[in-house]
Every structure is written in C-alpha cells, then in structure tokens.
Subunit: 418 residues, 2 copies
C-alpha cells in the first residue's frame, strides 16, 4: 500500500469512527479520557524510553538545546500531560446543546443543535504532548482525529498515541477515533491536505513554513494559530502607572507567546511623561527597545526602529515603540501592521475606549487589561487547542465548543412546500 | 497596471472600505439599500440596454435557451431585484449583537460580540441578479464585496454594479464598498483566490468546475454551496400517505434546486405497499424512476439504477429508489452517497426519528417534512445568500448573521496576568 493509500484509508476509517463518536454519551467520553489519563501515568517508563530514542537522534542531529528541551519527556511532564487529559474529562460536553429553537407559521419546528465537526486533521511540530492534548480535546467534542506529528518526536508521538488507543479500547472507544500517521515522510502533509472527502478541518500547529504549506495545499477549511503582533496603545487620557503595569506585563510576563505585546503606541502629548515612567522598568526587565525618531530623541541610546520592526513578532524581550498623534493614527497603525490577535488601549476616557473596542478588528480587544489574557484558560474555557487568528468559524481562544459545528433538526407533521 | 495589480489594489481598497462599513449604523445601511433599490428601478432602461449587449453576444455564441433565459433582464426581473434589495434593507442588523458576556474572578469582563467578516469575494456565473443580491446581503451585514461575475453577463453586471455604486454614493456609502472586477479574464479568479491578505472569505456560486477551481486555489476560507444529494427514507412505521406527499413534494415541487430529493429509500417490509401508493403519483408528475432489483421486480418497467445513480444530483424529474433492511442501512446509504445537505425520515415512530435526527450528519435533517424547507426564506431568515454544504462557519441556509463573525471585547481596570 502506498503512503497515499494508507493515509486515505486512515481517513476513511476516521470518518467511520466519527459517526460513532458523534453519538457517544458524555459519561462515556469522560470515562474514556480518565482511562487515558491513567494509561499515560501507568506507562510513564515506556514513554520515557520511547522519548530517549528521539532525544538520541536529536543530539546526533545537533538540534538546539531549546529544541531538545521542547522535545523532552520526563516524569513531571508526563504527569502534567495526564493531568491535562483528566481535566478535559471533567469539562461539560458541548455536543447536543440546543443553540436556538423556533416554530414556523406552517407548524414545522426548527432546532439548531451543536454537533461535532467530524474528522479533524492536526499537523504539529516538536512538542510530543500535543499528541495527547489535541486528541483528547477533539475526542471530548466528539471528533475523530488524524494526527501528524513532527519527525523529531516520532517515537514519542507513536508511544503516546499507542497508550491513548490502548486505554481507549479498554473503555470502549470506537476504533480509529485517534490515529497517528506512522510515517515521517513529508508527503503525508500533502495527502492530508488534499483529502477533503475525509477531513472536515485541518489545524496546523507550528511555524510559518508549515502553515504556509498547509494553506497552499489544503482543500478543506484550515484554522490557523498564527502570529500575534499585539499592540498596547497608551492614550492621552491613560492612567500612566496603570499603563506601565500593562505594557510591562504584556511584554515580559511570557515573551515567547503569541499574546505578548510586540509594539507600544503612545499618544504624543503624554509620550515624554510616559516613557520616563515606563522605560526604566522595561529595561530592568531586560527589554530591548526599538524606537521611532521621537523616542530616540528622548532616549538617545534606544535603537532606531526599521520599517520591518513594526511587522515583526519578536517572541522575545524586544519591544518596538512609537508615538502617534492620536487614536486614529494608533488604529491605522494597528490595521496596517497588526495580525488581528490582541490589541489594547489604556485610557480613562470611556468614549475613546468605546471607539477603540468597536473599530479595532482583532480577535480580542482590551481596555485597561493585559494582552496576555487572550487565552482559553484566562477566558474560563477550561482548555484551549490554540488561539485562532482566523476570522471564520472560530476566532481567538478555541475551547471545546469551537471544535463543534451545528445542524438543523426540522420536525413536522407532514408539511410540504407550496 | 497588470490585471493582478489592479485586483490587489481593489482588495486593498475593499479592506479600507470594510473598516468604515464595520461601524456604519443600521439606519445608514437601511437608507443606502433603499437608495439602491430606487436606483435599480429608476435605471431600468439602462440596465435593459446593457443586458441587450450580453444577450446579443449569447445568441451569437449559440448559448442554450435555458442559459439565455437565466441571463435575461426585463422590467419584471429588475423590479424583483429592486424589491429584493428593499426587503434586505428592512432586516435587523446582525452587527453589534452581544452573543455572550461574563466576568472573570479577576474582575475583567469579556463580551463576545458579532462583527462583520470584512471583505468577501464572490465569484458567480450567469444570472446577473446575483450582483445585486450578493452585494446588498454583504453590505447589510457590514462587509465589503469584491464581485467577479460570469463573462456572459459582463455588461449587465457592470451596469448593475454602477447603479448600486451611484445610488450608494448619494447615501454616503463608503467608497469601494462594492467593487466588480471589470474584466472577464479567467486569471482574475486565481488572483482573487490567492489574495488572502485582503479577502477574508470567498464564496463561489456556480457549477462544479468553478467550485473545484476555487477550492484548489484559495488561500482563504471558502464557503461552498454545493450539490444536494438529498434522501427521503420511508420507515416501516411511516404514515404511507404522508410519505407519498413528502416524496412527491421533495422531488417535484422544484426539481432543479439543491434541496430537491434525488433518492428514495424504503423499508423493505412496507416497500410493496408504499410503491403501489407512490409510483402512480410520481409517474403522473413526470418522474422517471431508477430502481434497485427489488423495485424493478415489482415494477418491471422501472429502469435499473446503476452504481452512479446513487451519487448523482439529477436536478431533474428523475428519482433513484431502493429498499433497505432497516434504518441502519438507510443511514449507511446516506453517509456513503449523500452530500450532507437535506435528508428526511418519514415515520410515526418517535424513537426511530430521534435516532435519524441525531445520527444523520446533514445541514438539515427532517422528520415528516419536505426537504424543500431547507431554505433561508422557509427558515424565517428573510433572505439567504445560499445554502452552505460546508460544516465550518456556516451550515445550511446563510442569512445575514452567517455573514458575520465575532470578536471579544475585554474590559478591565488595570488587571495584569500573574
């Protein structure tokens, strides 16, 4: 069987599994996930052993220490993975929820009800824990998954998938609910992306190169978790101390993530006063500043920002900063350079805040709060598969309901159309 | 300027227009749409004149009379187009609706609010009235449109777009809110499909070839209005007279549309009795039957169905029919051959109906009602841009809310993440 045939066969089997998963009662899904959490704990030694093969190959290939750290499984991380699975097991089942219901003049009743999406393809890189995270979030929302992990985590991913499948079987999980492509051939990404008769959705989790490949090839919907070029705009009516706390938190609390701020916009009237308060703290936190001429004039040791800086997601302790003549210029900057992820205004002026919230077209728009709150956990979703930077289907943090769709149930008593 | 540059420039301008459209108050949109309806009425002679050029070319090219009919504009059709625009003007504005709101333990308030999608590309064939229909539905939901009509309706489409733009200007519509690509070059489809920095969504309305091209090329989300291979399953516990009315209506009330039934599935225990009641009426309505061996044995003059029949959308007075051993076989048939559009069970058995409604994965699943009700008007949406056969973002009839997305507004008092 060719790789293509093998993947299409997995797709077909995933479709069959999805039909059964779609009608699995919540208590059954909870039991399956609990068994999986137990399985991961019980099989810790086997998982560490499989991971060792990947680590050995990674060292031989000379991967960076950051990459090797991301790849590493140890008791603590496996326990955290199992804990994550157990927490999803306790979340409310989104499937079957009635979203709307109405009766038409002819007497037919229409019910709009949440249903699983079907079969979800997930293509990811590096961290092996995604194998468990993604599979169980999809499973709890009634979806079958076809997983394709990174080549460097191949043995770890296979071992995790095997544990989940075995634990699932013991709790009557339908066969083929969770499938991992047992190949590191890059062509498997193409086959998945083209297989729109079997995959209802594809989610790429990884770098720009992977996302670009998937967008170009995919024949089914794609939900991307893309760059966050997030802005904090300090308005003329800002509480400057609050603004300092917010930019410091947005930039430095965890700089390597998508909801961290990358650019600071400051109303020119308060720029000198604000910079005087903010810059010492940012520097003390190790932040390198890249400034416009106005900032560089005030602080001559700030590196001048280039055109490229405004569209760069640093994911690091670097912050670009510029002053603006007012909120319109700030919003124009955000529209031009932002990635529609998380943008914030700090102001005491409710009217200005209202305009900013209304006119900035981002997944989450913040007024006087850190951009770091754009997160499934912080939103109270209990989990997230990622933060969608797409506008369709799901935007912002994706929890279990965002992994579902809906259908209409129409009940009649023999009505026909005239 | 090359065609590509021209289309990208239109995309960029559409993006600017969308920023203004997104915050246009409902009464302004209503006024704009009313002005457009008036404009279409007032410019009827000019529209008929432009249409005459297309009709002349169509005759010279030898297009079929059905094609020419679809292409033709006359006073009555222009009046209906204007009426349609005026009706959309009176629909409730979906933008700004609060979908959910909650406060987190740290005091931040999260509001999930409906917002426009942004810029929508619509690629369509043949009927010039789509120019007005699609543009005003998108406009009322706050979206800018980039339209690309079929070459055979080029002059009609240009004239309609010009009328809408002129009437819009008089009512302060932002420039570039409605743009029509002034070229019949097929490459324009490719440029639109690749331009994901400016188009948030692309909707192809047309035949399989167009849809296939768009799916293959598109780098942004696509919502398809695809085939409807719709089934009526007559259960062993069906009221046979009701079942006759429903299959007759589903098949013959308007056979050329996507929610018409194409396949009849009959429980084998009641098949002889049901066929005896149903077939005379179907034949009287001019329906040609393609049957399985069981049906052909009962009615030897029925054409035997081939494997291809089960996956064919006839869009005509043809019906494939077979008996099944029970509901599972019916649901397996639907899962295998259906297009997840509209499927119906006729039964008096509420438990069987419950299983069918739950397990059949179609945009609309019917119990004792005609499949022809899967329609925006019949659902009470007041309008529709089409019936989505996709599962993501919008499924089934798409009205104004389905042309929107959401964003989160997060209001704090200086909260930071710890």
């Amino acid at each position: 069987m060719t790789l293509r045939d093998h993947i299409y066969d997995m797709g077909r089997r995933g479709r069959e599994a999805a039909r059964q998963l779609g009608i699995l009662p919540p208590e059954k899904k909870t039991a399956i996930l609990r068994a999986m959490a137990e399985g991961l704990r019980a099989e810790t030694p086997a998982l560490i052993e499989a991971n060792a093969k990947d680590l050995e190959a990674a060292l031989a290939k000379g991967l960076s220490s950051a990459m090797i750290d991301r790849l590493t499984l140890n008791e603590k991380r496996i326990s955290a993975m199992a804990q994550g699975v157990a927490e999803v097991a306790d979340l409310p089942d989104p499937v079957g929820k009635v979203l709307a219901e109405w009766t038409r003049p002819n007497g037919i009743t229409i019910t709009k009800v949440r249903v699983p999406i079907g079969v979800i393809g997930i293509i990811y890189e590096s961290r092996p824990n995604v194998t468990a995270d993604a599979a169980v979030l999809c499973l709890m929302s009634g979806n079958a998954t076809l997983l394709r992990g990174g080549s460097e985590a191949f043995h770890s991913n296979m071992a995790i998938a095997a544990v989940l499948q075995k634990a699932g079987q013991s709790a009557e999980l339908p066969d083929d609910s969770i499938q991992l492509i047992p190949s590191i051939d890059r062509e498997s990404v193409r086959h998945m992306a083209e297989m729109n008769q079997y995959l209802d959705l594809i989610i790429p989790r990884g770098g720009k190169g992977l996302i670009e490949t998937v967008i170009s090839l995919a024949r089914m919907p794609v939900i991307k978790h893309n760059d966050g070029i997030c802005h904090v705009y300090v308005d003329e009516a800002a509480d400057l101390d609050m603004a300092v706390r917010i930019i410091l938190n947005s930039k430095t609390q965890k700089p390597g993530v998508c909801n961290a701020a990358e650019t600071l916009l400051v109303h020119e009237d308060i720029a000198p006063a604000f910079y005087a308060k903010a810059i010492p703290g940012l520097r003390a936190a190790g932040v390198e500043l890249r400034g416009d001429p106005a900032l560089c004039a005030l602080f001559p040791d700030v590196t001048p920002a280039t055109a490229e800086d405004w569209s760069t997601e640093y994911l690091d302790l670097i912050l670009s900063a510029r002053s603006v003549r007012g909120m319109d210029e700030a919003m124009n900057h955000i529209a031009r350079y932002g990635s529609r992820h998380s943008d914030c205004i700090v102001t005491e002026d409710a009217q200005a805040a209202g305009r900013f919230l209304s006119e900035v077209d981002s997944a989450a728009v913040f007024w006087n709060a850190s951009t770091r709150f754009n997160d499934g956990g912080e939103f109270g979703f209990g989990c997230e598969i990622g933060i969608s930077t797409d506008k369709l289907h799901a935007r912002g943090p994706m929890g279990l309901p965002e992994l579902t769709t809906y259908k209409y149930l129409v009940r009649g008593t023999g009505q026909i159309r005239v």
